[in-house]
């Protein structure tokens, strides 16, 4: 590898860092107010238009939610200033690990292997009250 190429790459990385600094200074992401039930329904309807929602559990930090739709659990979780959704079997959702106040859901999907939600105690009741 010649020196000119290495210098070019280092300069490119420095420019990337500079733009990152500019983005941090500009503070121009989308607004991410805490999700409410209406917003969760709206967003899940976009990604799962034919799934009726039986019940919704909002994350206490407003950054996501889980909904039951028959035998399926529909998850919505924040990524940066955007949201990602996934579905998994309801029985699997009930087996989410609780680590430091957050429930960790695992998907069989390399594109989104896992997600965590800070769910309120009523979710825990749903978990313990369910028979799988």
């Amino acid at each position: 590898m010649d020196q000119k190429y290495i210098i070019t790459q280092l300069v490119t990385l420095a420019i990337v860092a500079g733009i990152m600094g500019l983005v941090a200074w500009a503070k121009i992401p989308r607004a991410t107010p805490a999700l409410d039930e209406a917003e969760v329904k709206h967003r899940l309807a976009e990604d799962f238009p034919q799934a009726p929602l039986d019940q919704i559990w909002l994350a206490i930090d407003g950054a996501g939610a889980i909904a039951r739709s028959g035998d399926e659990a529909l998850l919505l979780f924040r990524l940066g200033d955007s949201y990602v959704s996934r579905s998994l079997a309801w029985s699997h959702a009930l087996q989410a690990d609780l680590i430091k106040g957050r429930y960790w859901f695992k998907f069989n999907d390399f594109a989104a292997p896992k997600a965590s939600l800070a769910l309120a105690p009523d979710w825990a009741q749903a978990v313990t009250g369910e028979t799988i």
Binding site: T12, I19, R43, E46, G80, D81, Y83, F110, A111
Partner: protein, 313 residues
């Protein structure tokens, strides 16, 4: 006649300062509320690092691609001079037509979608998104689509320059800062409005507007969809990625293909996992764009069009 095989100029290299300046301007103008642009730090970092990695990946395969072009050119059918204006007009049109079909293939067949999908993984649409380029395009082999131009007699350097011009043109259309261009321009050229539709995941907008420079190809081949003010574009892919890991961005669809091939129960299934439409599955449990659009169309007949207040804000 002898024609230069190596391009004397590289439009992309020449345009790099313009790319940087344009991104900086878009951010600053958005910061002061002069234009519409949304930048999220990690998303922007992902886009820029994908662009950086793409340059390195391109270096690894670029030599093979150019050597193939030169080899095919040895058997060229016509002598096309680089100095003739008509030749540049011809390469402009033919390269752009080739780009349309390359791009359409890259969306409608999973093997090539795996190489292209990373460009669509951002849920944002800004000039940095334009730099979220492929790491695996060279190995996916779509560059072979340009070889017939060499066989026709266009010098490899001429093709490389025109491909560079096309790439540079497509940079500026990755923005929400420009709402609409003049009507005549929108009719003829690919624009920010047309390309926003291309990056949208709304079912109405899926698999449309594949153009490079001229939008006329989409109009001719039936893939043109106009942007509707009442339905703002929601950017990203049908199933958005769960994090900003650039390795995941670059390779997730390849991993998906590999996983599916391991479960294939016949050669037919293996073939469709590789070359079927993205979202194809043997039992129809996943959804292709065609299925999503049909589902959406069915729902439209049952209820009026819903707008997206969240995306519009």
């Amino acid at each position: 006649m002898a024609a230069p095989s190596a391009p004397a100029i590289d439009p992309v290299t020449l345009a790099v300062p313009f790319f940087i300046l344009a991104i900086v301007l878009e951010i600053i103008l958005a910061r002061f509320g002069k234009v519409k642009a949304v930048y999220e730090a990690k998303d922007t970092a992902t886009s820029l690092l994908m662009g950086f990695g793409s340059g390195i990946a391109g270096l690894l395969t670029g030599g093979v691609v150019f050597a193939a072009s030169v080899w095919v050119y040895k058997y060229h059918l016509f002598d096309i001079p680089m100095s003739a204006a008509w030749a540049w007009l011809a390469i402009f049109l033919l390269e752009d037509l080739t780009y349309y079909w390359f791009h359409r293939l890259s969306h409608e067949r999973r093997f090539w979608w795996a190489a292209h999908v990373n460009h669509h993984t951002s849920q944002h649409y800004n000039l940095a998104t334009a730099l979220r380029q492929t790491w695996t395009g060279g190995t996916a082999g779509t560059w072979a689509l340009w070889l017939p131009l060499s066989l026709l007699g266009f010098p490899p350097a001429m093709i490389a320059i025109q491909k560079g011009i096309s790439l540079v043109y497509q940079f500026w259309i990755h923005t929400e800062a420009v709402r609409r261009m003049p009507v005549w321009f929108e009719a003829l050229f690919n624009t920010p409005s047309h390309h926003r539709v291309h990056h949208a995941r709304n079912p109405r907008y899926l698999d449309s507007n594949y153009a490079g420079i001229l939008i006329i190809w989409d109009r001719m081949f039936g893939t043109f969809v106009a942007e509707l003010d009442e339905e703002p574009c929601r950017y990203g892919v049908v199933k958005n990625l769960g994090d900003f890991n650039i390795v995941r961005v670059a390779f997730h669809e390849w991993v998906g293909i590999f996983s599916d091939l391991l479960t294939a129960r016949s050669l037919r299934e293996a073939f469709f996992y590789l070359f079927g439409a993205p979202g194809w599955s043997p039992d129809g449990s996943r959804q292709t764009s065609t299925m999503l659009k049909a589902q959406w169309a069915d729902m439209q007949t049952a209820e009026p069009v819903k707008t997206d207040p969240a995306a519009a804000s």
